[in-house]
Amino acid sequence: MFGHLRSAARYALGRDSSLRRHEVWPDDIFLVSFPKSGNTWTRFLLGNLMNPDKPVGFSDIERVVPDIAVFPRADFRKLKRPRLIKSHDCFDPRYRRVIYIIRDPRDVAVSLYYYAKKVKNIDDSFSLEAFVTRMLVPGRSYNGTWGEHAGSWLVNASNIAEFTSHQNGTPPHAAGVPVGSPGKMDAPGARGHGREFLLVRYEDFLLDAHAGLHQIADFLGLEASSERIEQAVARSSADSMRKLESAQNLQWQTTRETRKDIPFVRQAKSGQWRTALSAKSIAEIESAWGHLMRLTGYELASIS
């Protein structure tokens, strides 16, 4: 009863989280990704780029680039337009302007495993192999599986055959053959109906954050000088984010009640799966999501 009253009160005051109740405005810009795909880093980069006067920290990131699952619903109305909003939601047709960040699902698996421990979803005895098997199962999470998430956003009229072939028996392309070139990703789907859609690979971003941020700034129509981009990249470096995390982790809702012995900002690198994942886990991920990995340029290690 008390919980019921509390939720009604929160709802009445608009203090509940936005999520599907979010009132989307046509100029809202969504920073979308599956969890553990570099979204927080991108939030910092953009937050720092747009607010050059003072470095962004974990204590104020929620106001600068609010999370649709954290920021109170009513407060969204008070933000300056266009609003830049972080979201881990699967395809939502109401989102008109989307920056989609994708990351190698094998690295996502490793990162998510440590995160699940940090937020106490699993305990230390839970094995990475069992975790990988579990993350392939649909319906366990509000955010879907990695394959559902990326598939719902990246499918379009020119690549849809890649998503259906399985049901007819034989996949049209052998493993390891890249079928996705950027040109194949342009038809309707999440980019149709006049939407603005930018696909960013976390790995490309890691290689050259300056170029990546420049691309996003162009997409957003932000005037950004090289110096400003340089400053944003420096202020959002893994080192500086680690320092901010240790100083402010109690001020950020996402980390407040989590284990402090596992950091939120971890390695900020790619390719860790090569040493962290077993051959079995790699094969499981690639057999479930190989079609999407080929489409987005992640080379498969196992030939099934």
Binding site: R21, C90, R94, P138, S141, G144, E148, L154, I160, T164
Partner: protein, 288 residues
């Protein structure tokens, strides 16, 4: 102020329409179809198979297999589990198991046009061709341009305003465009037959026994006892009435202007091909 209070009382009593706010339970099962795709027919076929003791009627279909857009949150909370729920939504990761019904978009356009004209939600002077070019193939914000308005209008007329959520109408539902709806499901679940059973309307009409057999197998695996014996299926086929009566596939060939068919094929040609619908016009070059 009074209205806000009424909304709040509604929310507290959970008498607001569930819509996208439905609290999903892990064993929920969903029947999903884009509007105009024969979903109401499939829904009644399944609802009839669910309870052999009495045939499905317009009155009991809401309790056997309710839809997101008319039942209140409280109604859903009181259902027996596992619940089977009807929805028009795009892909939703919390629909752990879903039966997705797809239909030739050229026939969907005709069916939607006729439904909406009957329902009065499109102007009578709007031609089928205009409907296809100005709405069906171009509008993704169905929720802003007819869908939710139609539903909340309906709710307003039949049940009084207090049933409405005080939230924006778009929250009620977002089926988006045919292509977006189909693609979002195929993109997410096209390779996962355990999580999504894909049924084509045309196959269901041609061989209902076989297709309902698949539905029964899918639901049985998920813990719903469904008797899909031939005898039961045959008696079931007679129950559909009114707007749930199936239409013969290919009606578009006689009523849809060629330019409209072309417009649909030029936007979603490859999606149609992937779903097994032969194109009238040769596949548009831009996709090759």
């Amino acid at each position: 102020m009074m209205i806000r209070l009424a909304y709040l009382a509604n929310y507290f009593l959970e008498r607001d329409i569930a819509g996208r706010a439905l609290f999903r339970l892990p064993d929920d099962l969903f029947v999903v179809a884009y509007p105009g795709s024969g979903g109401q027919w499939l829904r009644r076929l399944i609802a009839n198979l669910l309870d052999p003791s009495s045939p499905v009627t317009e009155a009991n279909v809401m309790s056997r297999l309710p839809d997101l857009y008319h039942a209140s949150r409280r109604g859903f909370a009181r259902m027996n589990r596992p619940r089977i729920i009807f929805s028009h939504e795009c892909f939703d990761p919390e629909y752990r198991k879903a039966i997705y019904l797809v239909r030739d978009p050229r026939d969907v356009a005709v069916a939607l046009y006729e439904q909406r004209r009957l329902g009065g939600s499109i102007e009578t002077f709007l031609s089928l061709e205009q409907f296809v070019s100005d709405f069906f193939t171009t509008k993704t914000d169905e929720y802003g341009g007819g869908w939710a308005e139609e539903f909340s209008g309906l709710i307003k007329a039949k049940q009084g305003f207090s049933y409405r959520s005080r939230l924006k109408d778009e929250y009620l539902g977002t089926p988006a465009s045919w292509g977006e709806n189909v693609m979002s499901w195929i993109g997410a679940r096209g390779r996962d037959p355990d999580a999504m059973l894909l049924i084509r309307y045309e196959d269901l009409l041609k061989d209902p026994e076989a297709e309902l057999g698949k539905v029964a197998e899918f639901l049985n695996l998920a813990g719903v006892g469904l008797d899909a014996s031939l005898e039961r299926v045959r008696s079931t086929l007679k129950v559909a009435q009114g707007h749930a009566t199936p239409q013969d596939p290919g009606k578009w060939k006689t009523v849809l202007p060629e330019t409209a068919a072309q417009a649909i094929e030029s936007v979603w040609g490859p999606v149609m091909t992937a779903m097994g619908y032969a194109l009238q016009v040769r596949e548009v070059e831009q996709y090759r």
